[in-house]
């Protein structure tokens, strides 16, 4: 994609740090909610084709729970907190004390609790980013969906669809205990946001 053609390694490193700070705060918030240590993988910043993005959550048809927040303000974008069904049930149980039987469908209360958990994590992710960059970034009310990963993530790629067939995403995986995956954060800044983020962090954007 034209926009990313000249991205030098140090720019990727800057974005990685952006992800690191946001996800670090979200991991701390999750750890407080669970009263357990939460590990976090080093954030990855990757320019991926649309197909590769859904592969990262196990394929386009893989069933996932996703809390989606549209980021508004000076550096808009899309923020997804993605959970496997097992991780969602385990979070509900441990944070909200909700017992889910195998094969039980989640109801309104469970959805609402999950969306609130996503809201807390996304809020701490974004507020630390906003502090770090001095850019105003605020989340919309979260929306929760349980569906195929492709259908959900496709929605976050529409802005990129106007420009090319790749999107740049910053993703972080949370881990607890024996590599049990708790969730994945995807920050997909709108194409227009990159110059603003770099400028805010004192990285020259032009003439690479």
């Amino acid at each position: 994609m034209e926009l990313f053609k000249n991205f030098k390694d140090f720019k990727m490193d800057v974005l990685k740090e952006v992800g690191n700070i946001g996800a670090g705060n979200a991991a701390t918030a999750l750890s407080q909610l669970l009263n357990k240590p939460i590990d976090m993988a080093v954030p990855k910043v990757q320019l991926l084709s649309f197909e590769e993005i859904t592969d990262k959550v196990g394929g386009a048809e893989e069933l996932v729970y996703a809390v989606f927040l549209r980021v508004e303000g000076e550096a808009p974008g899309n923020l997804f907190f993605i959970l496997t069904p097992d991780a969602a049930i385990s979070l509900l149980n441990r944070i909200a004390g909700i017992e889910i039987l195998p094969d039980q469908e989640l109801g309104e209360m469970e959805f609402s609790a999950l969306s609130e958990i996503g809201n807390i994590l996304a809020g701490s992710y974004l507020s630390s980013l906003a502090d770090f960059t001095s850019l105003s970034m605020y989340p919309t009310v979260p929306a929760l969906a349980m569906d195929m990963a492709g259908a959900i993530l496709g929605y976050g790629l529409l802005q990129f669809g106007q420009m090319g067939d790749d999107a740049l995403l910053i993703d972080t995986t949370f881990l607890e205990g024996q590599n049990e995956i708790e969730g994945q954060f995807f920050l997909i800044p709108d194409p227009e946001s990159f110059p603003k983020i770099f400028k805010a962090l004192g990285v020259p954007f032009d003439n690479d």
Partner: protein, 165 residues
């Protein structure tokens, strides 16, 4: 004897055609529309995974014509005709175009699913291809598969199960 069926995969913002015993499949349609064309006489079918309604908003240098409703539908038609399809027999079916997330006072992007559906219909109308079946809208994802031998469109979703149109 069981015929070996080959599966042709169509990715996001992609299109392809197939014939005879092959199946054409695209997975995880959300606000995107899976549009199919079928010639029952020649047993030829094609599928496009349309992501956006109009190429007018494209800002990319080299246009991916499979991505936009207004460019994907004519391209799919010409690919079928090139394989020997008879234009007057071609019929269309489509699925997808849902609104995955509901927000109060959502902006235009939020409505992209319904707009994709409208735009596909306009493209079909201008090419005078009849739309004989659709399963669009809602707030859920779909995986679809068309059998090139019958034109039957198989639709699978997490929340609504499976159906055929």
């Amino acid at each position: 004897m069981i015929e070996e069926q080959s599966i042709i995969k169509v990715g996001m913002a992609d299109l392809n055609v197939g014939s005879q015993d092959s199946l054409i499949r695209t997975t995880g349609l959300g606000s995107c529309v899976g549009l199919t064309l079928f010639d029952p006489g020649k047993k030829l079918a094609g599928m496009a995974h349309v992501m956006l309604p109009s190429s007018d908003i494209a800002r990319e240098g080299q246009l991916n014509i499979a991505k936009f409703a207004d460019t994907a539908v004519p391209e799919l038609l010409s690919r079928l005709l090139a394989l020997g399809a008879v234009r007057s027999r071609i019929v269309a079916k489509m699925a997808g175009g849902s609104q995955m997330f509901a927000f109060a006072g959502g902006n235009d992007t939020m409505r992209i699913g319904p707009r994709n559906v409208e735009s596909c219909k306009l493209a079909l109308e201008s090419l005078r291809i009849p739309l004989i079946a659709e399963d669009t809208g809602g707030n859920f994802g779909r995986t679809i598969e068309i059998a090139c031998s019958t034109g039957m469109l198989h639709i699978r979703s997490v929340q609504k199960g499976t159906k055929e149109i």
